[in-house]
C-alpha cells in the first residue's frame, strides 16, 4: 500500500535521493507534533549518552540519612536531591537519567531483533510461497493469538526473570508484525517489472530477495519499527513492574515503579516521576511515528 511512492526509484541517483529526503522532511515537518516528538527524543538520547556527566549522584548510591526526601520545591526538600530521594536514599533524578539509557537501549535492541528477524522470515515467506509460507504464517498466527504481554510474561517466567530475557521475549512477540508486513510487501513487489528485469539479468535468489526487492518495502517497516520501539519500552517497563524484567537495583523505570509501589500513599514523587519518564518517552516516539506515517504513507498525505 505504501510502496507506490517509493518504488519508482530503484536505481536511485544521488539527486533523486536528496530530493526524496527533502520531500520527506517537508511532509514530516508539517506535522508540528512530530517535530516536537523528535526534539524530545533527541534530547533523551543526549541525556542517556551523557548520563555519567550530568547525573548529580551515582544511581545506586544509598544516602541512608536522606530517605524519602521530597522534591526541592516541597517543604523538607533539598537542592541536592532535585526530584527527591527514594526509600533507600537514592537520588531519583540520577536514577531517571540512567534509566533513560536502559529504556533507549531496550527499545533499540528489541526493535532491531524484531525487525531483522521479522524481515528475514517475512522475505523468505513472501518470496518462497508454498508450504514454507504456510508454515511460517501459521506460526505467526499462533504467536499473535496470545496477548503479547501475557506471552512475554510467561516466556520470561520460563527463561528466568531479568532484562535480557525480557528483551528476548518482547522481541519475539513483536516480530510477527514485521513478518506480515514484509511478506505482503514482497508479494506485491515480486511481480513488478524491475524484479523480472533483475531476474532476467541473472540475479540469484538471495540478491533478488534482499538487494532488489527489500529496499522497496521499507516504508511500512519503518513506521512499524517506531511503533515497536515504543511498545518495547512500555512492555519492558510493564514486565519490570511485575517483577519479571530488570531486577533491582537496576534503575529501569518500570522496576523503579515496582519498588516504589508500597509508598504510593506516602511519597508521591517516587511513583510519579518514573512513570512520567516512561510516558514522555513513549509519547515522543509515538509522535515521531505519526509524523513518519504521514510523510511516508501517500494515502494520508494532504493533497
Amino acid at each position: 500500500m505504501a510502496n507506490n511512492a517509493v518504488n519508482a526509484t530503484t536505481s536511485a541517483e544521488p539527486s533523486t535521493r536528496s530530493r526524496r529526503a527533502a520531500e520527506f522532511w517537508f511532509y514530516f515537518s508539517e506535522n508540528k507534533g512530530a517535530v516536537i516528538g523528535l526534539f524530545v527524543f533527541l534530547l533523551l538520547v543526549v541525556v542517556a549518552l551523557l548520563a555519567p556527566l550530568i547525573a548529580p549522584h551515582d544511581p545506586t548510591q544509598q544516602y541512608r540519612d536522606s530517605i524519602l526526601v521530597p522534591p526541592f520545591w516541597q517543604e523538607g526538600g533539598s537542592a541536592s536531591f532535585l526530584l527527591g530521594s527514594d526509600q533507600v536514599g537514592r537520588d531519583i533524578l540520577s536514577r531517571l537519567i540512567y534509566g533513560a539509557q536502559y529504556s533507549l537501549f531496550i527499545g533499540v535492541i528489541v526493535t532491531l531483533l524484531a525487525l531483522v528477524g521479522g524481515i528475514v522470515i517475512g522475505v523468505i515467506a513472501g518470496y518462497a510461497r508454498g508450504w514454507v509460507d504456510t508454515v511460517i504464517m501459521r506460526v505467526m498466527d499462533i504467536i499473535l493469538a496470545f496477548p503479547s504481554l501475557l506471552l512475554a510474561l510467561v516466556l520470561v517466567a520460563v527463561l528466568g526473570p531479568g532484562l535480557t530475557n525480557a528483551m528476548i521475549a518482547i522481541a519475539l512477540v513483536l516480530q510477527p508484525h514485521f513478518v506480515r508486513l514484509t511478506r505482503a510487501a514482497v508479494m506485491a513487489e515480486k511481480t513488478r517489472d524491475y524484479v523480472t528485469a533483475a531476474k532476467v539479468a541473472g540475479a540469484g535468489h538471495f540478491r533478488l530477495m534482499f538487494v532488489t526487492i527489500l529496499p522497496n518495502c521499507m516504508a511500512p517497516l519503518i513506521v512499524q519499527a517506531t511503533l515497536s520501539f515504543s511498545n518495547a519500552i512500555l512492555d519492558a517497563a510493564a514486565l519490570g513492574f511485575l517483577g519479571m524484567g530488570a531486577q533491582p537495583p537496576t534503575p529501569e523505570w518500570g522496576t523503579m515503579l515496582a519498588e516504589a509501589r508500597e509508598f504510593i500513599l506516602r511519597a508521591w514523587w517516587v511513583v510519579t516521576f518514573p512513570g512520567l519518564a516512561i510516558l514522555v518517552t513513549v509519547l515522543a516516539i509515538n509522535l515521531v511515528g505519526d509524523g513518519l506515517r504521514d510523510a511516508l504513507d501517500p494515502k494520508l498525505k494532504r493533497s
Partner: protein, 531 residues
C-alpha cells in the same frame, strides 16, 4: 478524620448486617488464597491458617506462643516403656460444627481419629486419592508411612498408635496441621452422595470457627462455633480478606478495613510503630539462614578455616542491608523461640583481624572459593545475592577471593546436595513442628549427608547426641541433650549461621488476646476486640 469516619461507618454497617446489636466481626487481611481446605493435602502456612487453625483441632495442640504441646482433642496420653506405643484418651463431649451443608448427629469418637490418619496412610482407603493429583505431603514429609506400624481403636474414646521405632518428635507431629481430625460422619455422607471433593471445599470439624463461605481470591468467612469444647469465641464472625499486596494490606489496616495483617513490608514497620491506632508485635520466626561449607573438602575440612571464615562475616550488616533490621543475627542452628535453645553459647565475634591471623596460622593463603546464592527470596533470606555480595566484601578483607554462583532454584536445590559439591552454599530452613529434632537432626545428622545436610558434615559425637534425644521421651532429658549438641555444633562450625528473620505482626490497637505463634501460624481463638 475521614479515615476514622470510614471505620466508624464500617463498624456500624457490620453491626447492621449481622443482625445483632453487639455482634463482633474480626477481619484478618490474609496474604494469599488457601490452596484448599483439607490441611493434609498441602504445605503452605496460608492454607493451615485458613483451615487447620480455624475449623479443625488435633489430638495435641501447641501451647499458645510456644513450640511445646498440650492436650487438645486428646485429654491425656500415655507412652509405653519401650517408647513404641502411644495411647490417646479422647476428650468426651466434643461437638462437631453444625452448618448449612451438614448437621452432625454424634460427638467426636475414635473412628474420626482413625479415619483422619488412615486416609493418609492406607492406599485402599477410598479417601486416599479423592483429590486428583493430591498427595499427603506432610504425612510423607514427616516420615509417617515408615514410622507408623498401626493405629488401633481400643474403645470408643481411646486410640493407640504403634510405632516401628522410637521417635520422640511424634508428639509434636500429631499437633501439626496435617494431623487435623476430620468428621468421619461428614466424610461418609459425602462419599454416599458421590461428592467427595466437597471435603476439600467446605470443611467441617471441631475447631473454634466454622466455615461459612469462600469467595475465590477475595474472602473466606467463618463464624464462631457456638458449641466449641473450649467455649464459644469472644468474636462472632471471622473474615479473611485476601490481600496479596503488603502495601494494600497496610492501607486497609490503617483505614480500619481489617484488624490484623501478616507480613508487612520491612520499610513500613517504623511508621506502623509510630501510628497511634496500631500496635506491632515481633519475634524471631521458626527459621534459620546459613552458609554451609562442604566439610569434606580441603581446606574446609579444617575447623580453624571454618571458624575463621565465620568470624569474618559481619552478620549485623547483612541483617541491616537485606532485612532493614527485621531479622536477628543467628548464633545457633535453631531459632531462639524453640525449646532447648542454648542461650549460653557465645557467637563467633566479628573480627576480621583475628580471622585473618587464624587463616594464616592454619597455613591457608590465597584461598579462593565459591559462594552459592539462591535465585529466589525465601522467608529466612530475602535477597541472597545481596547477602553474598556482602560476604564477598567481608572475605576480601581477610584475603579470601569469592566467586558468587547461582542456578535456577530447582537445580540449585539439587546440585547443592552433591557430596563433592564445590563451594559454600547459602540456604535455610523453616521449621515444621517446632521440635529441635526437625533442625538439629534433619539438617545436620549423619543420615542427611548427601541430602538435607548441605555441609556434608558427619560428626559422631554430635550425631550420637541427637539420635539419643530423638529416642528419649522425657522432655527435660531431651533439652539437655540438644543443648549439648549445640555446643558441639558451635565448636565445629559446619555452617556460618546467618540470621533468623523476624515475624512482625501489626494490628489495630483494639485487638486483644492475639498471641504470636513461634511456628508462624495465625490463629484467632481467644482474640477479641476491645470496645
Amino acid at each position: 478524620m475521614l479515615k476514622k469516619m470510614t471505620f466508624a461507618a464500617a463498624l456500624a454497617a457490620a453491626t447492621i448486617l449481622s443482625g445483632a446489636a453487639n455482634a463482633k466481626t474480626f477481619v484478618y487481611c490474609s496474604e494469599g488464597s488457601p490452596e484448599g481446605f483439607d490441611p493434609g493435602l498441602y504445605t503452605a502456612g496460608t492454607t493451615f491458617d485458613a483451615a487447620a487453625h480455624t475449623v479443625y483441632n488435633r489430638l495435641l495442640e501447641f501451647k499458645k506462643g510456644t513450640t511445646e504441646t498440650e492436650p487438645g482433642l486428646a485429654e491425656s496420653y500415655e507412652v509405653s516403656d519401650d517408647g513404641l506405643e502411644y495411647t490417646f484418651k479422647l476428650r468426651p463431649g466434643v461437638k462437631f460444627q453444625t452448618t448449612d451443608f451438614f448437621t452432625p448427629t454424634r460427638e467426636l469418637n475414635a473412628d474420626d481419629v482413625i479415619f483422619s490418619f488412615d486416609r493418609q496412610m492406607n492406599s485402599e482407603n477410598p479417601w486416599n486419592q479423592y483429590v486428583a493429583g493430591g498427595s499427603w505431603e506432610y504425612f510423607a514429609g514427616m516420615g509417617f508411612p515408615e514410622l507408623i506400624e498401626s493405629i488401633e481403636k481400643v474403645d470408643d474414646m481411646t486410640v493407640k498408635f504403634k510405632l516401628k521405632r522410637k521417635e520422640a518428635p511424634f508428639l509434636a507431629n500429631v499437633a501439626m496441621p496435617f494431623a487435623s481430625v476430620m468428621s468421619k460422619e461428614y466424610a461418609d455422607k459425602l462419599e454416599a452422595d458421590g461428592n467427595m471433593a466437597q471435603l476439600n471445599q467446605k470443611p467441617l470439624g471441631t475447631g473454634p470457627f466454622q466455615f461459612v463461605a469462600y469467595q475465590q481470591d477475595a474472602a473466606i468467612r467463618y463464624k464462631a462455633h457456638p458449641d466449641y469444647w473450649n467455649g464459644k469465641q469472644p468474636i462472632d464472625d471471622l473474615v479473611f480478606a485476601i490481600t496479596t499486596d503488603a502495601a494494600v494490606r497496610y492501607q486497609k489496616l490503617q483505614a480500619g478495613e481489617c484488624h490484623l495483617m501478616p507480613y508487612p513490608n520491612a520499610a513500613d514497620v517504623e511508621a506502623m510503630k509510630a501510628n497511634d491506632d496500631l500496635k506491632v508485635m515481633e519475634q524471631p520466626g521458626l527459621n534459620v539462614a546459613y552458609l554451609a561449607f562442604n566439610t569434606t573438602q580441603a581446606p574446609f575440612d579444617k575447623v580453624e578455616v571454618r571458624k575463621a571464615l565465620s568470624m569474618a562475616v559481619n552478620k549485623q550488616a547483612i541483617v541491616d542491608a537485606v532485612f532493614q533490621g527485621a531479622a536477628t543475627p543467628a548464633k545457633n542452628p535453631i531459632p531462639p523461640t524453640m525449646w532447648s535453645y542454648n542461650e549460653s553459647i557465645q557467637d563467633d565475634p566479628y573480627d576480621p583481624e583475628a580471622a585473618k591471623k587464624m587463616l594464616e596460622d592454619a597455613g591457608v593463603t590465597d584461598l579462593s572459593m565459591k559462594i552459592w546464592a539462591m535465585p529466589v527470596a525465601r522467608p529466612y533470606m530475602l535477597n541472597a545475592r545481596r547477602a553474598a555480595e556482602l560476604m564477598q566484601e567481608d572475605f576480601a578483607k581477610i584475603g579470601v577471593d569469592v566467586e558468587i554462583v547461582s542456578y535456577e532454584w530447582a537445580e540449585y536445590l539439587d546440585r547443592s546436595k552433591a557430596k563433592d559439591r564445590d563451594g559454600a552454599v547459602m540456604l535455610g530452613w523453616t521449621g515444621d513442628n517446632g521440635d529441635p529434632d526437625n533442625f538439629l537432626d534433619t539438617l545436620l545428622g549423619c543420615d542427611a549427608v548427601g541430602g538435607n545436610n548441605r555441609a556434608q558434615w558427619c560428626n559422631q559425637e554430635y550425631d550420637d547426641l541427637v539420635t539419643k534425644a530423638k529416642e528419649t521421651t522425657d522432655q527435660a532429658e531431651r533439652t539437655k541433650l540438644y543443648e549439648e549438641a549445640q555446643v558441639i555444633f558451635k565448636r565445629e562450625a559446619p555452617w556460618v549461621t546467618i540470621d533468623h528473620s523476624l515475624s512482625v505482626v501489626p494490628m489495630r490497637k483494639e485487638v486483644t488476646g492475639f498471641v504470636q505463634s513461634p511456628l508462624g501460624d495465625f490463629a484467632f481463638d481467644g482474640v477479641d476486640l476491645a470496645e
